[in-house]
Every structure is written in C-alpha cells, then in structure tokens.
Subunit: 84 residues, 2 copies
Amino acid sequence: MTNQIARTPKQVGDAIRRHRRSQGLKQKELGDKTQLRQATISGLEAGEPGTRLRTLFAVLTALNMELVIRSRTKASNDKIEELF
Amino acid sequence: MTNQIARTPKQVGDAIRRHRRSQGLKQKELGDKTQLRQATISGLEAGEPGTRLRTLFAVLTALNMELVIRSRTKASNDKIEELF
DNA sequence: GCATTAAATACGCTACAGCGTATATTTACA
DNA sequence: TGTAAATATACGCTGTAGCGTATTTAATGC
C-alpha cells in the first residue's frame, strides 16, 4: 500500500516525491499547480525542516493526498493494514 | 479511534491539541519538553500555516505521535478502520 | 558520447516564524 | 464570583523560507 509513515521531514519529502512521480509530474509542473517554485518543491522533497505547513499542504492538496495523525502505538492496526 | 485525518494546518492543530490534552499536558509543559515557547505551541494548535515542519515534528515526537501520508482515495480502508 | 530535460543550488530581497519577555484574556474551580 | 491557572496575544529582534532570476549539476534518451 502507498501509505507512508513519517516521523521526520525527510520521510515526508520522500513520500511526496514518490507520489509526485507516480503521477508523472515534474517538480516544475507541481510548482505551477501550487504557485510554488521548482526550487521550493525541491526543498520540500529534500526534507528541509524549515518548510512551512502552508507549503506542505499546498503540495499535498495538488497531489490529492492527506495526512493521518495518530499515536505511534499502532502495532495491531499496522498488521491488519497489511491486508491491503 | 484516535486517528485524525488532516488536510489543513488547522486540522493538524486540532489533532495535536486533542492528543496533548489526552496526555494531561499543558502547553507550557509541552514547550519545556520540546524547547519551544508556550506561545509557539499555541500557534501550532491554532493552525498557523506558517508553522515549520521542524516545530511540528518536535511536538509530534514529544507526544509520541506520527504521520501517515496517503492518497485521499481511501474509502474502503476508512471503513475497515472503524472496526477499531 | 552528446544533447536535452529534470533537479539542485546560488544570490539578493521581502516576509514572517520563533525567540525572550511580558501582559491580556479565557477557563476552571473553590 | 473571585481568584488562580491556562492560553492567547504583543513587541522588538534574529534567522531563514520562499520569491524571481539564473546557473550548475544530474538524469534521461538518442
């Protein structure tokens, strides 16, 4: 499944890059959709911790993605999610 | 279940506030754990879109939380998660 | 290999997060 | 209802994200 756990900005960037590429988009094209520069997308995907939530959600929305916020104590749920 | 979907900074703030309170923590105490000011926690929980990922993850870590990044196309999964 | 396209990096600039400190406001409860 | 605790807000300051623009470096295809 395409669900990515993220505990660091780097992991957020990796997940976004995967999703962007799976949709056949270039950083520049994603930048056009979000009113952000190609350089800004680059920074987000690189996991720059100074990236703002405004930027993150602009990109998530453009990629039709969302976050789930949860406790780290999720062993049982994780196992069941493997079914998908 | 305590899983919160977030598509906006505001929803992130709401989820964090819920988790903080469920752990019996004050904003000041959470600030002490994360080296952030009580005012900064206040802003994050209010959903200020300029909040940095550095700040978000400092708080998520202190609260023993994590993010899941996924596609919005999750109807079937969502239903099954209701079992928990 | 070489050309082309994509991604990373650079520079000066403006905007604003987060800081320390302090106060105002709201919430809780005796 | 009054008072203490919790949260929101203010002010001046420093650091840095994101901007436009441009270039460098890396990846892709012929």
